[in-house]
Amino acid sequence: MTRKRDERARDRAMTGVFMAATVLTIGLLVYIVVYILQKGLHVVTPAFLLESPTEMGRAGGIYPAIIGTIAVTGLAILIAAPVGVATAVFLTEYTHESAVSRLIRFGTENLAGIPSIIFGLFGFLFFVIYLDLGWSIISGALTLAAMILPTIVRTSEEAIRAVPTAYREISYALGSTRWQTVTGAVLPSAVPGIVTGIILAVGRGIGETAAVIFTAGASLGIPASIFDPVRTLPVHFYILAREGISMENAYGTAAVLIVVILLINIGAYWAMNRFAAKSNV
């Protein structure tokens, strides 16, 4: 009797603990987003988005930083997505599980754990100095690509492994080549997972500061080519806040960054649902 009551009390208490943990997690997220938006949203006007900054960013807008972010992240994804997906396809469909493939996987996982400032340093020494690409969109994009590559490989590999073996067997038994099997039977089922991984990578890339500040530079000009330096939104935010130029505009920049990331995630869900609906007519 008493034991039973104890157990029930414990059950209720633990339900409370788990709920509290969840509320804490969600609450923290909501608090950060609301705080930033509250502090920054009032600065965000069409002019703030479409004008160049003046007085180092104390006045004016953030237009060049928006362009810089899109250019660096976009180019990084264009480089990393094909390479990452191809690596995942090779590891899953072209090799059998072996010491070598385990070593490659171990390597990519470790790559994912390297702090981004190390990537920044590597990018600076290799792309900026050694390859003489200078502070530029291309240096930043290559560095960022190296940084997000493991995420893309990992998520794509998981998505591809989740495709039932039966699909591969059927495809081969119908007389498909390996390429036909990969493109016809494996990748279509894996696309939602792969796309999710790429979106995650975009999110990580957009918010990245340390890796790009050393490689893409901090220029406030509008780039004319991928060999020009740019300043991305997080770098702009960092400089505004770090050097005490304008906390107001720093929060404005942060608000834009948060809204953009939210929009990307919503877009990703929309695209994924559309894809899922299409394949299940």
Binding site: P164, Y167, E169, I170, Y172, A173, G175, G184, S279, V281
Partner: protein, 253 residues
Amino acid sequence: MQRGNKIDIQDLNLYYGNMQALKGISMSFPANAITALIGPSGCGKSTFLRCLNRMNDVIPGVRITGRVLLDGKDIYAPDSDVIELRKRVGMVFQRPAAFPLSIYENVACAARVHGVRDRATLDELVEKSLMGVGLWDEVRDKLHKSALGLSLGQQQQLCIARVVATGPEVILLDEPCSALDPASTLRIEDLIRRLEERYTIIIVTHNMQQAARASDYTAFMLNGELIEYGRTGDVFTSPRDPRTESYVTGRLG
């Protein structure tokens, strides 16, 4: 009716690493007949079936010796084209695995693999294949709906239609009814009977009633060896080997 042999097997051995899974199998499959492979689980009947369209090639550590002649040509010869082989020797698997595509696409994808692109040709081929497996009337109004909405029995018919669409000469069926209910099983057996006219059919089954009902010839395998092979009626009513007798009467396996 005079029947030639479609496939001749000469001293076929298969090893998984050091383990020998098939031991010196020699036999012939007659054309346009249904041959059943029976035997207890793990006797190597599925492994043997997969040798006939080289599906074991992709498994690491598998080594095969001996010859498998399709119309007199060794499919394991160095100049043999495995893509062409699998087009000629189709395979239906145990679990009806329709692709998560429309009914139409499930059949059309098989033809596309072999380079059919023209829409009208594809339409015709899909209709013909679905008719061939007796599924057309049930699905004609929902060709572009997901194949996953079909019953398991219908999905298995669809899988057979997919194989038929590649224009095979031989159809291998690996326990095609083991995931199906009795009514669907009978449907598939009827279908296999009808396909016999056009194709050479080899079916692996652990269901002896099915072998007795639905085949012309039966081969009994045990521990990787071919124990007995003959007309289905003879194997079931007057087996020559005592082990066959134990198995078909239900005392073994």
